[in-house]
């Protein structure tokens, strides 16, 4: 472990000759490294304790759950909680729907958000400050006040769902994929984050490219965007995860079961008059799993970026 660790720490610190001083430095670095690992392990463990608790709970029987004092591990490992929980709602449909919605939101956000972020960061035009600050300001009104107007927009969408040109007479986008995918497709925070990432890139690239006669869109798509892969991964991950966990909006704009999402399914276990903890935790564990896999997939885009290209 230490060999690899030493090899890959900060550049510029790589020992040149194996003299005495370098060896001393290596030893010191190794002990720093062990300390670092211990600190990180403790931190990581603290972060995941609630999840371990969740998984343990998902395997307990109701009798076990009522135990006092609570047992750390299940007395009987009730693996059947998982299939039982999955039976409580049509989770295969919910899962598919959640996936479609999240993927849709992510694609719209990456396409529109990156473009807008680039424009706001790198193209000087009058009014961009106002546009940018307005975007940020849009985030400052809580969801719960915006949701009724948004619902009305969806319902009175002209020409859809039997509506006339004034949006009267039908149900608009209610009960359609449009309502699930379009309104939540782009958030101002994604544009904001993209802007900040494009800002942190050096100016020389664009100036050179513009002198070379490259169109602005090509500069955006071919020169700058490949440099912010970590940002793309970040925005994609955060957008996907937020849509995946969204609950209220899909519940409001749909009445049909075949358009509902995974979080709505999990709400079945969370009733006013009693929670089925074991099923809720089993369901939540299963719902979290795809997000963890997505993270592991995305996370390889964080291992290198602009820095390794050696551009000044």
């Amino acid at each position: 472990m230490s060999a690899e660790a030493v090899k890959t720490t900060q550049p510029g610190e790589v020992p040149v000759t194996p003299d005495k001083a370098a060896r001393g430095r290596a030893a010191r670095r190794r002990s720093t490294h062990i300390a670092l690992n211990i600190a990180l392990s403790i931190g990581a463990l603290t972060m995941i304790i609630p999840f371990l608790w969740m998984i343990v709970t998902s395997l307990k029987s109701p009798a076990d759950l009522a135990q006092f004092p609570p047992s750390l591990l299940p007395k009987d490992w009730v693996w059947s909680n998982y299939p039982e929980a999955l039976k409580a709602a049509p989770f295969h449909i919910y899962f598919r729907n959640s996936f479609i919605i999240s993927a849709g939101h992510t694609m719209i956000t990456l396409a529109l958000g990156a473009m807008a972020g680039y424009s706001l960061a790198r193209i000087p035009f009058r009014g961009r400050e106002i546009v940018f600050m307005s975007f940020v300001a849009m985030l400052m009104i809580p969801t719960y006040t915006k949701i009724v107007p948004q619902f009305l927009l969806v319902k009175f969408m002209p020409f859809f769902g039997g509506n006339d040109v004034f949006g009267q007479g039908g149900t608009g986008w209610l009960n359609t994929w449009w309502a699930l995918i379009i309104p939540g497709g782009l958030s101002a925070s994604a544009i904001f984050l993209f802007r900040q990432f494009y800002l942190s890139l050096p100016k020389e690239l664009e100036e050179a490219a513009r002198l070379d006669g490259l169109g602005e869109f090509r500069i955006f798509a071919q020169i700058y965007t490949p440099l912010i892969k970590p940002a793309l991964a970040t925005v994609g991950l955060l957008t996907f995860q937020e849509s995946w966990n969204n609950f209220l909006w899909p519940l409001l704009v749909t009445t049909r079961d075949d358009l509902r999402v995974i979080q709505v399914g999990l709400a079945v276990f969370r009733q006013l008059d009693g929670t089925s903890w074991n099923y809720l935790m089993a369901g939540t564990t299963l719902a979290t799993l795809p997000m963890v896999l997505l993270f592991l997939f995305c996370q390889r885009y964080f291992v290198q970026g602009f820095a390794n290209a050696g551009i000044k």
Partner: protein, 431 residues
């Protein structure tokens, strides 16, 4: 695991029973005649029948019976949960797209009827007198607004005293308390603290449910009312209300029967289940909790009405309503009546472990097999509900912090209730 299967089997059995029952009762049920003139596509908003099990019950067992009678009606069900019912109804009303049939809670009907969202059922023949043949007076009134009927009750959630007789016997008692004094005395005797004073077992748990509903149970026990007769002013800060809150507060601070935070509405399981409480104000579904977690103790559960100046028993519940703007009022009304009829109502109650509103269902196997539900039904004539003025939904939200403030000792019961009454009065007077 085995318990779960048994449970599923029980539901399946209930559904079958429901089939038979509703077949029998269909002869006298319904004001809209089943002559085929009733038709249309209607929507149903339901916070119950959720999940696959509930959905199967509604769509595979119950609705086919409805269709058999009304072949030209098509029902689309919008399932939600109670937690999100407010949001669903709010957006529905705001957009004018109100479901034809809506289920809502006790205390909600007043607001929605007052604002003209609900159809007046008295005008269709479902009068108060007619309903009182099938339900107790108080339950019928839960669906009424300004002398007209707007809702049919389906299921009730009741709160009353529950004792663990095994723990009572250990302490030398062979029956639950019959008066407040007995309640205090027994609670003290049943409370167990370790040497350092840590509470091991409370004699009487008052914290496992919403503070508002706990307070109301005690308010009714003290003989108090929520509002004046004409619903223009709050009455819960009457001497009876103050007595009720003081009684609970004293249990905690003077008699040291329970510590703040020992239990909470969100804490599962109920402390009765694991012996952390000997008695409690509990919901009838504590029976279901015991069935799952401690079936061997089912026989030790003894329900009791908390008896003070009056009988302390509280009910909320679910009622079915029809939209005033329904395009197919006959179909909507037929569905509402069907859902409230004995068969479907029994099945819905059984699925949730709740108390049927229909008096006749006392004799059903389900009720006879669940002593807490049976007890609740036998005492429905003394049970009282929450609600009253059209602004109830707004007022009820302010109860919890006020009751908590009193129990925490931040305010005296009188101060807390007076403050609460003041904000309630403001809400009632606002137009």
């Amino acid at each position: 695991m085995r318990m779960i299967r048994t449970h599923a089997a029980a539901v399946a059995f209930a559904a079958t029973a429901a089939l038979t029952l509703s077949a029998c009762s269909s002869a006298d049920g319904g004001t809209s005649a089943g002559d085929g003139t009733v038709s249309g596509d209607i929507t149903l908003l339901s916070p119950i029948f959720e999940g696959s099990e509930g959905q199967r019950l509604l769509e595979d067992e119950l609705l086919p019976q409805f269709y058999a009678k009304y072949p030209d009606v098509k029902v689309t069900v919008d399932y939600t949960t109670y937690n999100q019912l407010n949001e669903k109804l709010t957006t529905a009303v705001a957009s004018g797209l109100v479901p034809d049939v809506m289920m809502m809670g006790v205390g909600w009907v007043e607001s929605f009827a007052d604002r003209g969202v609900l159809a007046n059922l008295s005008e269709t023949g479902l009068t108060q007198e007619k309903l009182e043949e099938s339900y107790t007076k108080e339950i019928v009134e839960a669906g009424m607004w300004e002398d007209s009927v707007y809702a049919l009750p389906i299921m009730l959630d009741t709160r009353f005293g529950v004792a663990r007789m095994d723990l009572l016997r250990e302490a030398g008692y062979d029956a639950p308390p019959k008066t407040w004094d007995e309640l205090t005395e027994m609670s003290k005797a049943l409370t167990v603290r370790s040497e350092d004073g840590t509470l091991q077992r409370t004699g009487f748990d008052v914290q496992s449910m919403d503070p508002r509903q706990m307070f109301m149970t005690m308010l009714f026990s003290a003989g108090g009312d929520l509002f004046t007769e004409d619903l223009t002013a709050p009455a819960f800060n009457s001497p009876a209300g103050v007595d009720a809150l003081e009684f609970v507060s004293d249990l905690i601070h003077v008699d040291k029967v329970e510590d703040i935070g020992f239990s909470s509405a969100s804490a599962d399981p109920n402390p009765l289940v694991n012996g952390r409480a000997a008695m409690a104000i509990a919901h009838n579904n504590v029976w279901s909790q015991f069935e799952k977690a401690a079936p061997e103790l089912l026989g030790e559960l003894q329900p009791f009405v908390i008896q003070g100046e009056a009988s302390g028993m509280f009910f909320g519940g679910t009622l079915a309503t029809v939209s005033a703007k329904s395009k197919h009022p006959e179909a909507a009304q037929a569905l509402m009546e069907f859902l409230a009829s004995p068969g479907p109502a029994l099945a819905a109650n059984e699925q949730r472990g709740n108390v049927p509103a229909l008096t006749e269902l006392l004799d059903s196997d389900y009720v006879q097999g669940n002593p807490l539900v049976q007890f609740a039904m036998e005492n429905l004539d003394v049970a009282r509900r929450e609600g009253g003025p059209a602004q109830w939904l707004e007022i009820r939200g302010t109860f919890k912090p006020a009751i908590e403030a009193a129990l925490l000792g931040q305010q005296t019961p009188q101060e807390a209730l007076d403050g609460l009454a003041k904000s309630a009065q403001t809400a009632i007077d606002r137009k």
